[in-house]
Amino acid sequence: MNITLKVWRQKNAAAPGALVEYTVSGVVPEMSFLEMLDTLNEQLIAKGEDPLAFDSDCREGICGMCNLMIDGQAHGPDKEATTCQLHMRRYKDGDVVTVEPFRAKGFPLVKDLVVDRSAFDRIQAAGGFVSTHTGGAGEANAILIPHDMAEKAMDAASCIGCGACVAACPNASAMLFVAAKVSQYALLPQGQPEREKRVLAMREAMDKEGFGHCTNEYECEAACPKGIKLSNIARLNREFLRATLLTE
């Protein structure tokens, strides 16, 4: 089938950008969305044109690199799926698809569809860790953790840092990401010693990067490929309030 793409092309952060229209031929339903873009690039290179820049790595939904805004939806139309897990069987011959980069002040554009998400790394580095010498693997049952706590922490920890929550949020807020990272430690015994310090530092780092304020629009939850729940943001709010009150 043929797919008409309107993709954002921009040489670099300083240059002006615009949507450019291309028709990709030879697309088959089994292709992933990224393979369709690879096909476009083969056709562009054959014509001697500059190929389209876009990010990807694992192509199996675990690394969080493939970040595209597809027809106004972060990671495209599927529920709980990354762009690399979106397949062309979702589309039919002649469809017109608009592809844009994730947009936020905290995610500066590098080229075409590639944005710089190192803001997330800086937020994580501000407090998203536990400072203990773990030594060798301990006895698994030495620290008892209730099953439901382990499940909730694991759900929060499944965030892959893709940034779809920021891209989908009308306020470009990074609260769902930060909430997931704070929650995964706040729920476990190992996270307790640095519980207050962590949330205060990560909140500060988040605001410093220029992300917006959460107004509880729920679009982040709807866009998240890992199904991170908004209840994590409520926990982040509680943790922040608690840390503000308890810290000396």
């Binding site: 309107k6 954002w8 949507l19 805004m69 027809d71 106004g72 939806q73 608009t98 844009e100 947009r103 936020a104 002040k105 905290g106 554009l109 989908a168 009308p170 306020n171 470009a172 807020s173 205060l200 909140r203 500060e204 988040m206 605001d207 220029g210 992300f211 917006g212 304020h213 959460c214 107004t215 509880n216 629009e217 729920y218 679009e219 939850e221 709807a222 866009a223 908004l230 209840s231 943001i233 409520a234 926990r235 982040l236 709010n237 509680r238 922040f240 309030l241 503000t244 810290t247 000396e248």
Partner: protein
């Protein structure tokens, strides 16, 4: 930031108020307290259905309560806090996405109320200015224009409601309040960190029901007295029991 605060604790409070989450918590707290004010205000207003004397008596008692100026100052402070912080947050949110999307569809999580918070907020603000100017400070000078009702607030209010444009603006504005609260109440709870798999769906419905009740309650007065039971300006007494 460390440099200009007296102690670590005052620093922490300052940081809280300047933080994205702290600002939101303050906006939500002021918003919920304003909801409490709306309930008491509505209860007073509904006395209009009981009759002119009952309403006027209530208004008299309120005006002569020595604590009223304190309450008014508190209310003003709540409004200012809510408005200043929410406008600052809204502007910061605009700045957080300098270049917008050509196509921005989302996944259907937003509600009509959540999309229009800033617009309904500004509508409420405009309404409050008109409302206080006309009802409290008698701008437009309607007081005493309903024949023989010099001192009656009831007659004064009826006089304004008799103007269909005023009544319509009133209904529109309290509709704005309803929309604002349809998102606002559940959003404020979430901002306080209240989110529970079992109770949150019920709390959301309660928030929506509260918004509808506030709208219906406030809108009932201009609708009834503005379109069904109209006062006749400078001509004759409005409704039975309308005089003192």
């Amino acid at each position: 930031m460390e440099a200009n605060c007296a102690s670590k604790r005052s620093c922490r409070i300052f940081e809280f108020l300047e933080s994205s989450i702290g600002k939101k918590i303050m906006v939500a707290a002021a918003g919920i307290l304003l909801c409490g004010f709306l309930v008491t205000h509505l209860a007073g207003n509904l006395l209009m259905f009981v009759g002119g004397p009952a309403f006027d008596h209530y208004a008299e008692a309120l005006v002569h309560n020595p604590l009223l100026p304190v309450a008014e100052l508190g209310l003003l402070a709540l409004f200012l806090l809510h408005i200043v912080l929410s406008i600052r947050a809204t502007l910061a949110n605009r700045a957080a996405r300098p270049e917008g999307y050509q196509v921005y569809k989302g996944k259907g999580a937003r509600t009509p109320g959540s999309r229009t918070m800033a617009v309904t907020g500004l509508l409420i603000l405009a309404f409050i200015i008109v409302h206080v100017a006309t009802f409290k400070y008698d701008v437009g000078g309607l007081k005493g224009q309903v024949a023989g009702q010099e001192e009656s607030l009831f007659a004064h209010v009826l006089g304004w409601f008799a103007n269909p444009w005023y009544a319509l603006f009133y209904v529109l504005a309290v509709g704005g309040v309803g929309f604002h609260l349809s998102h606002g109440v559940q959003s404020a709870l979430q901002t306080f960190g209240v989110n529970h798999p079992r109770y949150t769906p019920a709390l959301k419905r309660l928030g929506l029901a509260f918004a509808v009740l506030i709208f219906v309650g406030f809108a009932s007065l201009p609708v009834y007295f503005g379109f069904f039971h109209k006062a006749d300006l400078a001509c004759c007494a409005p409704v039975e029991g309308g005089s003192k």
